[in-house]
Amino acid sequence: MMSTPIIAQAKIYVSIEQAQKILFQNQSLTKAPIIITDELQEKMRLASSIRYPFRGDRIWKTSDGSWLIIDEVIGKHEMITYAVALNSNGSILGIEILEYVESYGYEVAEVDWRKQFVGKTAKDPIKLNQDIQNIGGATLSCKHITDGVKRVTSLYDLSLKTIR
């Protein structure tokens, strides 16, 4: 062994506020939560093959009718929080990953990944590339994100597009 191994952990990329800026620059967004009925939940499940429920409380709208939706994909090996920006006609403006937790529900239970952030204060900003790792290795597949985005676009077709 070349050195002490570290548990591959979670990464926080951007906050919801930062994602809003990245995807909509300075446009103002209004929170527009919707109630996901059982019927809608079931239709979204069929459209995307994602089983766990969608949360309708992380939806925002711009004055020109665009949407920002935060969702998660929870796979056997990971949990990914991501933001999807949709145009008023439902086309995708952009997708940004907010948080990536590897080996979700397995390693996380063993070692709290947030430990690497413990002791950091506002004066001691998390220095990228020093405290958090640049991880090389075999290619990690992002195919779960594709299913997640399908679920979000199905939400638009089934519900958002009828909301004015």
């Binding site: 062994m1 191994p5 591959a8 990953i97 080996s103 090389g136 075999a138 597949s141």
Partner: protein, 272 residues
Amino acid sequence: MRRCQALLGTFVEISTDQDDSQAINEAFSAIKQVQDLMSFHDPSSELNVINQTVHLEPVAIHSWTAEVLKIAQEIYEQSNGLFNCGIGHRLVAAGLLPCHMDLSIYQMSGIEDIRFIDPQIIISSKPLCLDLGGIAKGFAVDKAVESLISRGIESACVNAGGDLRVFGPIPMSIQIRNPSRHTQLIDIGSLQNGAIATSSLYFSKRDQLQSHIINPLARDESEVHLHFSDSYSVVAKECVYADALTKVLALSQATDHPCLNYFSAQAIRITT
């Protein structure tokens, strides 16, 4: 600021201390453009146009595609055929890539039959099924780095799902996954103005997929998919070379392969 988008079938991270969202957006756009040109999955990509028509008529291609094909041919030659992008049909047959054309009627040729009749026009005497999956990710990382530099970013890391390049005055510490237990990381030291790419099969094994490392020199079916449990990394100045040369390293298992030396690259093998 550290950002991540799902591109090239993987998670692409761009991290820099400079808070310039626009520069990062443009770097992601460069990667997206490589994806649009060279994706095997996207039926309308330039790569799929090449695969479907290059043996029938000359095909005009984007300068970036031309650049990748030139480098792929150079590595093909220097590796005596160990690196060959003309293995798309093998990956389709294994269910690792989607099928966009009838592959059964042809005897597929390789990258060596691509001929440039102009810097951006190619033709092939034989049908072929190119997959740039073993080189385009590294190329995309390089294009993102070039884009960041042109926008005045002084130091950053671009990591496309494990193939990464760093630039700037500060060396950056790099960890690679332990092939015996991929959730563990091994600190391999720091890298300054360089790239590292890795080939290994732990995710393929975890997801019960056939090996995606294809031996282009296979004499029969049993030799087509390479099986190994170690991890092979290559350090090079540019990520396109690091990415492609991991295939030469994994196939030859020779950390002193002359091809690595030719491209001023170095090998790291982590055994299980």
